[in-house]
């Protein structure tokens, strides 16, 4: 086995519609349980993934390319990647917290996660990587 250090790797692909966020959260809840996260960290992860997916849905535009959410347990962390295949757009922070509807997503992700990375995919698209330290790092 080349993946002897990886306790699990799971993914879900959804249509780029905010009505799918509910389903994505059930997926996150399930992988968080597998990774032994407590209810507080599970909530944080559900919010962060929802924010990333909401951004991805916005990027996807028409014709509406699917959004992929991949979860893996590695290096003592639960790592979730959210990929969309629309045009790359840096999540906006210009409006800050108090102003308006836009711009809350990225600050919330950063506040709630142990690490957030955003990358431009070759061929268009955006990959957001969220990671949370596990309570029992020996797990993976």
């Amino acid at each position: 086995m080349t993946h002897s250090h990886i306790a699990f790797s799971r993914s879900i692909t959804v249509q780029p519609d905010t009505s799918q966020l509910y389903e994505v959260r059930r997926f996150v809840e399930s992988v968080a349980a597998d990774a032994t996260l407590d209810s507080e960290r599970t909530f944080d992860l559900m919010v962060a993934v929802s924010e990333a997916c909401a951004n991805a849905v916005e990027h996807s535009g028409s014709p509406g390319l699917p959004v992929k959410v991949k979860a893996a347990c590695r290096g003592g962390r639960l790592v979730i990647q959210i990929c969309d295949y629309g045009g790359f757009r840096l999540p906006s922070t210009a409006n800050g917290f108090q102003r308006d509807h836009r711009g809350l997503g990225l600050p919330l992700m950063v506040a709630l996660m142990d690490e957030v990375r955003i990358a431009k995919l070759s061929g268009g698209g955006t990959k957001v990587t969220l990671s949370v330290k596990l309570p029992a790092p020996a797990l993976c």
Binding site: D17, T18, S19, Q20, L21, Y22, R25, S39, E40, F43, D44, M46, V47, S50, E51, A54, V57, F97, Q98, R99, D100, H101, L104, G105, P107, L108, A111, L112
Partner: protein
């Protein structure tokens, strides 16, 4: 998400049940706007049965607060610990026009005090 409306000491209360996210926040926004358009000074949201909220919901609260601040306040009844943590992160918890109550009785008392002033 399910919404139902009632009154507490003559002030409208929207009871929310379920999860508030980017997909359904506009439903809540519409319900709040309908009340704001009736020139209410105070609006109360009972979130006892809300187990999840993200920036979709937070944005709706910020919009409501912006419209209410000049004339009154926005009350929230019984948010769970996770939702309260979000309020702190986004700075809502520090806003004097954003008032959080443990239960109906505490909200009712605040409404009666507001009515006296």
């Amino acid at each position: 998400m399910e919404l139902s409306t009632s009154e507490l000491a003559g002030t409208p209360v929207i009871r929310i049940r379920g999860e508030i996210d980017h997909g359904n926040a506009s439903t809540l926004s519409t319900a709040i706007d309908d009340l704001l358009n009736t020139e209410q000074h105070v609006i109360i949201l009972d979130v006892t049965q809300v187990d999840y909220m993200d920036s979709g919901g937070i944005s709706v609260l910020l919009s409501a607060l912006r419209r209410l601040r000049e004339r009154g306040w926005l009350g929230i009844i019984n948010p769970n610990a996770n939702v309260q943590r979000l309020f702190q992160i986004v700075g809502l918890a520090l806003d004097s026009s954003f008032r959080v109550f443990d239960d109906n009785a505490a909200a009712e008392q605040a409404l009666r005090e507001t009515a006296r002033t």
